[in-house]
Amino acid sequence: MRRNLKRIVYGAFFALVLLLPLLSRNEYVLFVMNKALLNIIVVSGLVFLTGFAGQISLGQVGFVAIGAYTSALVTTRLGMPIPIGIVAAIALSAIVGLLVAIPSFKLKAFFLSLVTIAFGQIIYLLIVNLTAVTGGSQGLFNIPPMKLGGTPFTNTLYYYLFLVLIALVGVLMYRLKYSYIGRQMFAVNDDDVAAEACAINSKKTKVFAFALSAGLAGLSGALTAHMVGFLTPDPFTFFDSANFVAMAVVGGLRQLSGGIVGGLVLTWLPELLRLNISGFENYYLLVNSVIVMLVIVFLPSGLGASLFKGLSRLWREKQGAVTLRNSRSKEGE
């Protein structure tokens, strides 16, 4: 009975996810959903970087920007096909991620977060100032959309493409988490010196985590560029980076699902708060920030964790080995 309930809930959830484009014929809903999916890709990378490898990045949007502009320039200026643009975007972001990882060998927590803030700002300023390449603050337009048999992707097609990508990212993360490298990461996160003593190369794992999260951010950026069709520097500010970290924390840093929950909730929340009330255009961000603060203050382990705790209480299953491993406590900090 309980088991059936579990199946029904999960089944309904997956059915809803798969059928959403058919249920809602509203392009706006799909567009925001697609944005949420793109955010999920970035936030998953952050969950990996922060939750598993213990490194903070407050400049993640810098990698998104690198990905977006790389793919846009490769396809518009060089006339290359989109897949090449996307691969170039991932590669370049990941390489820059490697470079940003270097200071992390020496720096801890806040100092590292300052390096990443500076990195994000430098990328932003370069985009604004390198007008000849990036179009400056006026932006880049006419970025080609993805095409299927000559016709451009609809929002629905993008939706399914992103779903597949997220599924792939999820599988990759899951395998990494329970692989040798994942366990190493937990070790690095818990205690740098002790991990080093156990012959774990913390430098290598940090570099790997940075490169991976940067690559995912780059992928998301490239997809955004082709879906939206234009790029301006304004979604690449410090506050956008902060928003990604907020998504990761609200979703929950200790589970792979954190990225999904955080990305969905915090993309939709401001949209839902854009109420049709006169004058509310001044208030919705205020309400948004209050809600996020409340979640962080009262549910620091994130909505994802609480959600699954609530669900598992619903069908009262004994917490299995997997959940135990999931809920590693934070003794090390």
Partner: protein
């Protein structure tokens, strides 16, 4: 480039840099006592400026009353920050990162609140530090009179803080807590009290900075986010996050770097240059280049 131009730029850089230093002090005091970074640090500056504007310009309370009341409210806000944000996060099992994100959101929150209450249009600051266009002429150099106020207050603040921290028992208790919390409690220092003090000190200093900066920044949302906040952090980093004097010097050097990179390299890339310098400093000397608090160790 004549000498007076150079001097003029040094004065400009030093003034703006001193303000970065003041903002950085707020970071330093909190870091010293709880090893946390309040990313809404800069919000205190904006709140104080708007409070002062309300009390002085709108309620006509007079300079001293308006100033004292504003700073008192900002100090109380610091205390609230501890009890409504830091403590609940700790109690619910949160950690540094949760505090970072909560305060980032707090920053947006205050910007929205001020936007709703006062609108987005920058307001001129009342000429309590002299008219904006009154300049003091020294030889071929002309200096806005408000700059002297900034120098004066920064000097007084640094002096007061020096005396408070170095000469009074409470200051020594505060420093002891910052250096070793557990040991401090073992010698009978109420760490909870010094933590509250740290919060209040941190918001009040930034609040004073906010009122002081308002003639330059105007009573505007610019005081509550953006470049000045990040540069305040950078100043604190130059002081290793613990040395108040180093933080002021760090701020000054950032101000000067900005001005001179505009003067000799490019105005478009001056921020890029100062951020690159910040990264280089962080990587090269993570304990801060102006940090004399601990040698060796």
């Amino acid at each position: 480039m004549v000498l007076s131009d150079l001097l003029q730029n040094i004065i400009g850089g030093v003034t703006v840099g001193a303000t970065y230093g003041l903002i950085g002090l707020g970071v330093v005091f909190l870091w010293q006592s709880i090893e946390r970074i309040n990313f809404a640090n800069i919000s205190s500056a904006m709140l104080a400026a708007y409070l002062f504007y309300t009390f002085y310009t709108q309620l006509h309370l007079g300079f001293l009353v308006a100033f004292v009341v504003s700073i008192a409210i900002i100090a109380a806000y610091g205390l609230a920050l501890r009890h409504l944000v830091l403590e609940p996060i700790n109690r619910h099992g949160g950690d540094k990162l949760e505090f970072v994100v909560a305060t980032l959101m707090l920053c947006t929150f205050w910007l929205s609140v001020v936007k709703v209450l006062y609108g987005g249009i920058a307001k001129p600051f009342p000429p309590v530090f002299g008219e904006a266009t009154s300049f003091v002429q020294i030889g071929s150099i002309s200096i806005p009179s408000v700059y002297f106020w900034i120098f004066f207050v920064v000097l007084v603040l640094v002096l007061v803080l020096y005396v408070l921290l170095q000469r009074t028992m409470i200051g020594k208790m505060f420093r002891a807590t910052a250096q070793n919390k557990e040991m401090a409690s073992l010698v009978g220092i109420n760490v909870g009290m010094t933590t509250s003090l740290a919060f209040m000190l941190s918001t009040s200093i930034v609040g004073i900075a906010g009122i002081l900066l308002a003639p330059i920044y105007f009573v505007s949302l610019d005081l509550g986010g953006g470049p000045i906040g990040v540069k305040g952090f950078a100043a604190a980093v130059m002081g290793g996050l613990i040395d108040p004097l180093g933080t002021i010097l760090g701020g000054l050097s950032i101000g000067l770097i900005e001005n001179f990179s505009t003067l000799f390299i490019s105005s478009a890339y001056k921020d890029v240059i100062s951020f690159v310098v910040l990264v280089v400093v962080l990587v090269w000397k993570p304990r801060g280049i102006f940090n004399w608090t601990t040698k060796g160790d």
